[in-house]
Amino acid sequence: MMNKKSCFLVSIFLLCILLLGFTAQNNYFNISKEDVEFKVPKTFPKPLYKFKNNKLSPEIFVLGRKLFYDPILSKDSTTSCASCHQRIAAFAHIDHALSHGINGLIGKRNVPALQNLIWKDDFMWDGGVNHIEVQPISPITNPVEMNETVANILLKLGANINYKTDFKNAYGDTLINSERILKALTQFTGLMISANSKYDKYMEGTDTFTAYEKKGLQLFRNKCANCHSEPLFTDNTFRNNGLKPDTVLQDKGRGAITGKAEDNYKFKVPSLRNIALTYPYMHDGRFRKLSDVLNFYSSSPNFDSHAAREVYDIGVLTADDQKYLIDFLQTLTDKTFIYDKRFIDPFMK
């Protein structure tokens, strides 16, 4: 039997372990200067956004991360950016065909993955947003997403003593304005760079492909790379991929932005990086599995009459072709990106 003294010692010991655990955990969320160093992956082209008027710093990045994960940015403080952009899904929304907003409202498009954003010339499926810094205003103010106003966010953040400290740490004073909020969010989302998949290592010569993966890559280059061009796996254009328009959603895509009839039902070609993680697929999330997508592209008689030439060029994909392609597409999964500690929810601290 333990006496009182040893009981006391054991509790002190346990307390120490607990404290140690806490400190370790806190360090885990720390962001260093090296963490926000901006390195362009060797095989990537020059990014379009270079943080020129938004100098990267650990404190601003940390503020951006907190804002990204904080539901305070939505009208009823229930929904954060991360509610729909889940880290484990390469910041897409696993198993949700269409976006979900406050009060159970449903949008009309599938949540896109967030990765390699600084190589994009415009944003959203219709390319309506022309700059990474102003992109967050769209979901924040959309009535079926976060349904909040910029003015109200300033009020809410201004009334929050912790945020005052965060802004002071980030910018040197407690001024909270939209420019600072947007630039901080951009530091966080802009550094979401995925370039360390098995495919990338294979291309560098530091990993090998199986026979199936090699065949898949070959097929991919012949059939898919016209639009999903390497190394970003998108050519950033808008195309009609052959999907017949959903009669309920009535989504004209790019056409609603430009007002040009020839742009109707065109959508941005999405990157295929981390594609295995971002199901369901297509701009309206109508396909649950990669095999559904490949079956669709393999059956040109089902295409919309305005489908792009490139999707007709795909031709029939045999069962074997599909197997090879899916094996290859899985090599685009980037685990170091998904588990990168810089992107983990700081409210878990």
């Binding site: 008027n53 959203m124 309506g128 947003v129 022309n130 700059h131 990474i132 810094e133 102003v134 205003i137 769209s138 924040i140 103010t141 959309n142 106003t149 910029v150 003015a151 300033l154 304005n177 939209s178 420019e179 947007l182 630039k183 951009t186 932005i257 430009t258 007002g259």
Partner: protein
């Protein structure tokens, strides 16, 4: 030797004198006076009548002005490159103080109504262009150049609303308009000046095309936007320079 010293002296005096001459600056105060025809605008309570005899009230009126320049026979002198958000509800916003204007004899003033395309594509901005001002489209990036809201019994929109949010910088929906206003007589700007610019909202519905509230009661994207933009070009006139 002595001669050359005196030449230097003379030249020095001359250049100081020239500097003094060219450094004659003045200050201009611009007033944007909002009217409907000949009456100073009043929100909510006053009924106005458009060209088709349709009644309307006004509940909101604001717009962006930028790139202000003065025109003289020697050319165009940029006097301020900033953007200003002129808002009927905010009396301070309707008076612009512009300093350091080179003294000259000017024949007119020009400015942009709207926001240049480059400034529509520059990401997060503060000041007049801060999205918090409610003059920013999030879903199709760009600034709303002019916002006029009101009501008309003839309006076909919900709640008889009139809603004109005019913007767009891309061809063919470009709503940026260059406003050039000539002074009645050439004016010597030696001392500080006050210029009153009349902004007649009735012109928005008048020419070049008469706006019928039963047909066009809401413009919130590129549909019909340039129609209104061509009309708002004629809203401005200089009514006094003192």
């Amino acid at each position: 030797m002595k001669k050359s010293v005196s030449i230097y002296k003379f030249m020095a005096t001359l250049s100081v004198a020239m500097l003094f001459c060219f450094n004659a600056w003045c200050k201009v105060t611009l007033y944007f006076d909002h009217y409907v025809k000949d009456r100073i605008i009043q929100f909510d309570t006053v009924n106005y009548i458009n060209e088709l005899g349709q009644l309307y009230t006004i509940t909101k009126f604001k717009y962006y002005i930028g790139n202000i320049s003065l025109i003289s026979k020697n050319g165009i002198t940029a006097i301020n490159k900033d953007y200003f958000l002129i808002n009927e509800e905010d009396s301070l916003s309707k008076v612009l103080h512009i300093n350091n204007i080179p003294a000259d004899s000017y024949t007119g003033i020009q400015f942009t109504l709207g926001v240049d395309s480059a400034d529509n594509c520059s990401g997060a901005q503060s000041g007049a262009l801060d999205p918090v001002n409610g003059m920013f489209w999030a879903w199709n990036t760009g600034y709303i150049f002019l916002k006029l809201e009101g009501k008309s019994p003839q309006s076909s929109s919900t709640g008889n609303m009139l809603e004109y949010h005019i913007g767009g910088y891309k061809i063919p929906h470009n709503c940026i308009r260059q406003i050039i206003l000539n002074f009645n007589v050439q004016s010597d700007f030696k001392e500080d000046k006050e210029i009153h610019i009349k902004v007649d909202i009735a012109e928005m519905f008048k020419s070049r095309q008469i706006i019928d509230f039963t047909k066009i009661s809401s413009v919130t994207d590129f549909h019909n936007a340039t129609l209104i933009a061509d009309n708002y070009m004629d809203m401005f006139s200089v009514i006094s320079i003192k």
